[in-house]
């Protein structure tokens, strides 16, 4: 080693010299490691984290910004807004803002962005996940005032518009773009497929001038390599590293990722159609034992399918205790009443749904077996898993305990309640008329009343129906290099505002 190390250092110094000197010259440039690279950089796809983490609020901005901490909305490209009729909203736009291509930010740009997003020729996620069904249209009142109209009353239109990225009128309609043109503090510079995306600071930005002048995004799917890149100074921030690589408390910071894991129960199929059996499953899983072992100790026990940052989250629900004896007693009662509790139940998992998810289902299956359930464990590949997750459900399917992970980073429970629990919801096992009515009504309410009704929706699902087995609100680990002063939050599940980065 005495001989080889200096030799290797000398050779490296010669070969790597251009790289390091370039880095040293640019003290306000950052390199960010993502777990996966983008497939396109289209403004209408920013709700997808693989795209949003690069361009949302950096290159392209939204009219409205979500404040996850206070569960509310903040002005961004819109200065103010008001609901002028149940199906009408008027937004006042910020003046003096220009796009990176020099065109002005005005009502025409907003209309263009909405029309482009709603174009059926594209499957923009902003439309398919958020705007679909609202039939939202925009019309110009004057150059800096836009009126939005919807088919029916949409009390959370500002929340929905927090997903609509505004791009220049020169962004082509009917085709995806790989060169986003926005109004943000950073301009898109270039994208080398499979290697990197580079953004540079826009000197014409309407807001405060950010400190960082250049950001290079690279991607490594192997978590230990991403972590090593930050440790060696090759990168400044690694978005998502595995819990086993997060070993340095100084650099490795945990943040909620807005994912909630749970087991959905096929409540119509015996023996799971008996509420005692469903309660027994909840009592038989020792959730606490997973925390700090195969699930991060920073994850939180879940009582519902949305996290605390979502309007409608019910903070009054109490976690199920781990009580295998009570579980056995409930099963015995059910058996005595003729319920076939010995029938085989399929537990369905999906490899890599979250870190250690395979180990998790193995252990959970064993916990259920230990109180008397007959469990057959299957780990399905994504496409097979989706087939089972979505309606129409197979007619001859077995009773099942189905592992899912739901991601609600929209800030509102509407995106969970209908889809997961309404009779017409694509992934709903329930058909409870009262619950359906409550879900629909909650969707038409605003403010405190809305939160109150969604609270009741989640209470009924959890306490009265016992529709599922809520497990954990999950977390991610971010490695932040020593050069940066940054603490991640739940917003970083889908975006990272470069303008908020500070240097130490």
């Amino acid at each position: 080693m005495n001989f080889w190390k200096p030799m290797l250092v000398a050779v490296s110094a010669t070969l790597i010299a251009p790289l390091t000197s370039a880095k040293a010259e640019d003290a306000t440039a950052v390199t960010i490691v993502l777990p996966a690279g983008p497939d396109r950089l289209d403004p209408c796809e920013t709700p997808r984290s693989v795209i949003g983490r690069i361009i949302k609020q950096n290159v392209v901005e939204t009219l409205v910004e979500l404040d996850y901490t206070n569960r509310t909305t903040l002005p961004r490209l819109a200065e103010s807004w008001e609901q002028t009729a149940p199906t009408e909203w008027v937004f006042k736009l910020r003046q003096g803002v220009t796009f990176h291509d020099g065109t002005p930010f005005d009502a025409k740009a907003v209309i263009h962005s909405l029309e482009r997003t709603n174009d059926p020729a594209l499957t923009c996620i902003t439309r398919t996940k958020y705007l679909d069904g609202t039939d939202v249209k925009a019309t110009e009142i004057d150059a800096h005032t836009v009126k939005f109209t919807t088919k029916t009353a949409v009390p959370i239109l500002p929340t929905l518009l927090a997903q609509l990225a505004i791009s220049s009128v020169n962004t082509p309609k009917g085709e995806y773009t790989a060169t986003p043109i926005g109004t943000g503090p950073y301009k898109f510079d270039h994208w080398t497929q499979g290697e990197n995306v580079v953004l540079i600071r826009s000197d014409a930005y309407w807001g405060n001038k950010p400190l960082i002048d250049k950001a290079t995004y690279v991607w490594r799917s192997e978590s230990s390599v991403a972590a090593a890149m930050v440790e060696t100074g090759e990168a400044d921030l690694a978005f998502s590293i595995a819990p086993q690589d997060a070993i340095n408390p100084e650099t490795d910071k945990v943040y909620p990722n807005s994912d909630s894991a749970l087991f959905r129960l096929s409540v119509d199929i015996p023996p799971l159609n008996d509420v005692r059996v469903r309660k027994a499953i909840n009592l038989a899983i020792d959730r606490q034992a997973f925390l700090g072992s195969i699930i991060s100790d920073k994850a939180e026990l879940a009582m519902q399918q949305v996290g605390p940052s979502v309007l409608g989250f019910n903070a009054n629900l109490k976690p199920w205790p781990y009580d295998p004896e009570q579980a056995k007693a409930l099963l015995a009662q059910a058996k005595a009443d003729g319920v076939d509790v010995d029938r085989e139940i399929r537990m369905i998992g999906r490899p890599a749904m979250f870190a250690n998810s395979n180990e998790f289902v193995e252990a959970a299956a064993e916990m259920l077996r230990s109180v008397g359930f007959t469990i057959k464990l299957d780990n399905l590949e994504m496409s097979q898993w989706l087939k089972m997750a979505n309606k129409p459900f197979a007619e001859d399917r077995q009773p099942n305990v189905f592992l899912t992970m739901h991601d609600n980073n929209s800030g509102d429970a509407a995106f969970t309640a209908f889809f997961k629990y309404h009779s017409n919801g694509r992934q709903s096992e329930l058909h409870d008329a009262d619950l359906d009515a409550l879900i629909v009504d909650a969707g038409t309410q605003a403010g405190a009343k809305r939160a109150e009704e969604y609270n009741e929706v989640f209470r009924r699902i959890y306490e009265d129906i016992v529709a599922d087995v809520p497990l954990f609100h999950m977390v991610n680990y971010m490695r932040v290099g020593k050069r940066l002063d940054f603490t991640p939050t739940i917003a970083n599940a889908v975006e990272l505002q470069l303008a908020k980065l500070k240097l130490n």
Binding site: K5, L8, V9, V11, S12, L15, I16, P18, L19, D39, R40, P120, A121, T123, I125, R127, T128, K129, D132, G133, E175, Y176, Q193, G194, E195, V218, W219, R220, S221, E222, S224, V225, A228, M229, E231, T232, E234, M382, S383, Q384, L386, K387, A389, N390, F415, F419, G425, R426, Q427
Partner: protein, 305 residues
């Protein structure tokens, strides 16, 4: 030789067509891309729209006809994930893999031929034992593990190499070293065995009796005869690398075809799967032709007329 290459090309075209047909139908048996590309809560209307636009609502034979017609016009379709022509996506990734293979294979051949030959020269000697031991470890150690340990040792602890990525020659050191490990391990064993057989032949004994030097016996007389099985195994290993050094590409963030293929299978990006299979199959076909020609050059008894 010309007619041989022509005949082989015809056979290969037939194999390629069968392969393409198989890949087309097998890929479509794995499920609809709509579930993977649209949000899980997307409406039925949006799903239908998606399938309609991309032609997935048409019967399979109609889809195949469209694909085959496109193929005849050198059009492999659009990539679902990248919204660009699939061929363009594949051809952008292929040079990285080819470069990896082009650097790795000559080094593998050089190292394994020299090591295997020297090991065979004194079977059972210290060098032979050491070479056999190390080559067995090389052939049997998982690439994935070696790659991660390589990053930890050379990039994180010693700080003499970059962790991953491309850019400078140093970025290629770890990936190439990891990629060399298995083929070198296998080939050292093959060279050693093949050379031991060659070295025990009567003509070698004659050469020794005539006083020919050891170096000339090993590297001139025995090696040429011992090379035939080595060429066969080496071509197999090279084809493996051209098919995609998936693990190396994944760990080191190399934008090669192996990772592209895996990602495309996971995302049901049919056009890219088909284009990638076609391009790599063509490359393997070319490697096989080169191997056949090399056989003829190495062994004068082989003639393809």
């Amino acid at each position: 030789m010309g007619s041989f290459i022509f005949k082989r090309s015809l056979q290969s075209v037939f194999s390629l067509v069968v392969l393409i047909i198989l890949v087309f139908f097998l890929a479509r048996m794995t499920g609809s891309p709509a579930d993977l590309y649209l949000p899980q809560d997307a409406s039925l209307e949006v799903r239908n729209q998606f399938n309609e636009q991309l032609g997935f609502n048409d019967p399979l034979y109609v889809q195949f006809g469209r694909f085959f017609w496109g193929l005849l016009h050198f059009d492999m379709g659009q990539s679902l994930q990248f919204s660009r022509p699939a061929v363009e996506v594949v051809l952008q990734a292929f040079p990285t893999t080819l470069t990896l293979a082009a650097i790795t294979m000559p080094l593998v051949l050089l190292l394994s031929i020299v090591t295997g030959s020297l090991a065979a020269f004194r079977p059972g000697g210290v060098f032979d034992r050491l070479a056999s031991f190390i080559s067995l470890i090389g052939a049997s150690t998982p690439n994935f593990w070696v790659a991660i340990v390589g990053v930890l040792v050379f990039a994180v602890t010693l700080r003499v190499l970059p962790t991953s990525g491309t850019g400078t020659p140093l970025h290629w050191v770890l990936p190439v070293a990891v990629l060399m490990l298995r083929p070198t391990g296998v080939l050292v064993q093959v060279v050693r065995t093949s050379m031991m057989t060659a070295l025990s032949s009567a003509y070698i004994k004659t050469a020794r009796a005539k006083g020919v030097g050891s170096r000339a016996i090993v590297f001139v007389h025995a090696l040429r005869n011992g090379l035939l099985p080595v060429i066969t195994v080496a071509s197999d290993q090279a084809a493996g690398i051209v098919n995609g050094a998936v693990i190396v590409e994944t760990v080191f963030g190399f934008p090669g075809i192996g990772k592209l293929m895996i990602d495309s299978v996971m995302l049901r990006d049919f056009a890219v799967i088909q284009a990638a299979v076609l391009v790599t199959a063509l490359a393997v076909f070319i490697i096989n032709i080169i191997v056949d020609i090399t056989y003829a050059l190495v062994d004068p008894r082989i003639r393809y007329s």
